[in-house]
Subunit: 350 residues, 2 copies
């Protein structure tokens, strides 16, 4: 339950980095079954600026999405996209990846920006380190993430936003436990698992969930950040995750890759050039009901915008259908069987 | 009346060069009020090929547009986009602008391709010469266009496509008269005015229509190819034109330029960056009902696909509303007054 409506879980949030899910209108997202979308604090803080979004009535009104929204803290982008200049317990100082201007992000500032944006769920600022960093660096990042989580909690002014704590610690059980134990006393209304799907093999991610998720309260939403493939989502739901976000459906869609009931389809392949059949006969989205694979391939060959639009739409519908089926399977207690059936069908999908 | 439905005139055809109106779904075009769309023979012949479109059930099914379609002959692109290698009365030999391959276009081939595509209205192959060519070249092009028009008529196999003759002759009254007189005996079901809006000043185009349109039968559709601005369309309707096509609404939309009831708006201008007001308060399209100018400007600043999508939609709605109002004004006999009112409002628009 959020100020903008109920979110049934497991749920998948399409990513609207810059206050738009690339290529799709809010009505198309709703029709696809999306309940909640994610927007990126770092990107919006740089452009158009969180104060402007606030002055224009907040993110919901700005992007015309009246359902729930979650914003991340901006930390992930500061540590991946921006040029980090200085980092200490106080804050991160970095250069914008757009114009090189010098900016700062502290826990307090991350909360202030997210209060300006006005999402329903907001995230603590965390330190994101490469998964292959040494144990000492990983532990320091966990401890700083805990410190920052407390400061984020203290910095909250608005009472209508659910602040999530983020568990870090790479794929190390002791560190994940240390992180969870540090966060639990702060009593967040939701917990995220960060620092996964950053290059580790899927079995490592699943194993990490195996020992991390049971440490998080069952009565609070558990959010796996930035994940993942359809198989990842099924595996994570089996391990107790409720909430997902990933650019994959839209990014892959823009690159002519479709998720289908029979596994991934790459529409640039010549084999589709004369194919009259629909992309996925089991899908009722506009791309599948109205067009042939030959037409969709033609759109990408001719660099027509409608190609990315239709495939982003299809993949979004595919992901929403997947989590809808997972909700049913969870309710019916048949999720293990659902996993076996789906993974067998997508055996070529990773 | 076409095999795919009635077209009320004056009508404006959105341009679907490669079997897609850039960025818009057929449902969005219909909701905007579009009755008929145009597709480009040259582009489709090169990619994906007219035989493939035929084998996939024709253009209507390929692009999921069940209303009327008009295809041009490909001549204009052969003379503008391609590298022309050889031209005589028989045919044009040219190199593809995509891969440089050597291709031919004769009147017979232009008809064959258009029969494969299967549009409701098709066009004769015409010779398009620069408007500033000398009188001799212009007259030779007129005569070749007449010769080719006869051959196109003779080459028609299908009986369900309305073939339009194209009047050429630049801005010269004698040549336009010569062209019209050459075409009328062939008794086409529709006539187009070609070779305008190619760089001449608007008053020259209007004057050319003044002496050309009256020479074309009143009981057949009269189509002004590739035109134009909202003001051009009003002026041409006042002079008896029924049918228009132009890339302007979608191309300008992709470039952040909107046609509005108050004149053109360039959304990249900084003045819009904090503007809460809608793009056009008199428009009921999605872009105007749902978003602020500040948001639309943000989409273009951030290079988000939704910017081109929303502005292409808005401009398409604007053009369709314009021709709808022109139909009413023509019916009511108030078109001169309508012209005066609109042009006064758009005084900055050209």
């Amino acid at each position: 339950m959020t100020p903008h409506g109920v979110v049934q879980t497991p749920a998948f949030m399409p990513v609207g980095t810059l206050a738009t899910v690339k290529g799709l209108l809010p009505d198309q997202l709703k029709q696809a079954g999306a309940q909640m979308v994610l927007a990126n604090t770092y990107h919006l803080a740089l452009r158009p600026g969180s104060e402007l979004v606030r002055d224009l009535g907040g993110l919901h009104r700005f992007m015309d999405w009246d359902g729930p929204i979650l914003t991340d803290s901006g930390g992930f982008q500061v540590f991946s996209l921006a040029k980090l200049r200085k980092l200490d317990d106080e804050k991160a100082v970095f250069r914008s990846h757009i114009d090189g201007s010098l900016l700062e992000l502290s826990p307090e500032r991350a909360i202030q920006i997210q209060e300006d944006l006005g999402a329903d769920c907001i995230m603590c600022l965390d330190e994101c380190v490469p998964a292959d960093d040494n144990q000492e660096r990983l532990q320091a990042a966990v401890d700083r993430t805990t410190l920052w989580a407390k400061r984020c909690r203290d910095a909250q002014q608005r009472t209508d936003q659910a602040l999530f704590g983020i568990v870090q610690g790479g794929i190390d059980e002791a560190l994940r436990t240390r992180s969870a134990k540090g966060l639990l006393p702060i009593d967040f209304p939701g917990y995220a698992v960060g620092g996964l799907s950053v290059g580790e093999a899927p079995p490592e991610m699943y194993k990490t969930l195996d020992f991390t998720v049971p440490q998080l309260p069952m009565d609070r939403p558990r959010y796996l950040m930035g994940v993942g493939t359809p198989a990842d989502i099924i595996e994570a739901v089996c391990r107790g995750i409720d909430l997902f976000d990933c650019v994959m459906p839209t990014r892959n869609g823009r690159n002519a890759m479709a998720f289908t009931s029979g596994g991934p389809v790459r529409l640039r392949n010549t084999i589709h050039s004369t194919d009259e059949s629909p992309l996925d006969p089991q899908c009722d989205c506009t791309a599948c009901r109205r067009y042939s694979r030959a037409y969709l391939r033609h759109l990408f060959a001719a660099k027509e915008m409608l190609g990315p639009i239709l495939l982003s739409l299809h993949n979004t519908v595919f992901y929403q259908k997947l989590v809808r089926e997972l909700r049913i399977a969870v309710n019916n207690g048949t999720v293990t069987q659902f996993r076996a059936n789906q993974l067998a069908r997508w055996n070529s999908q990773s």
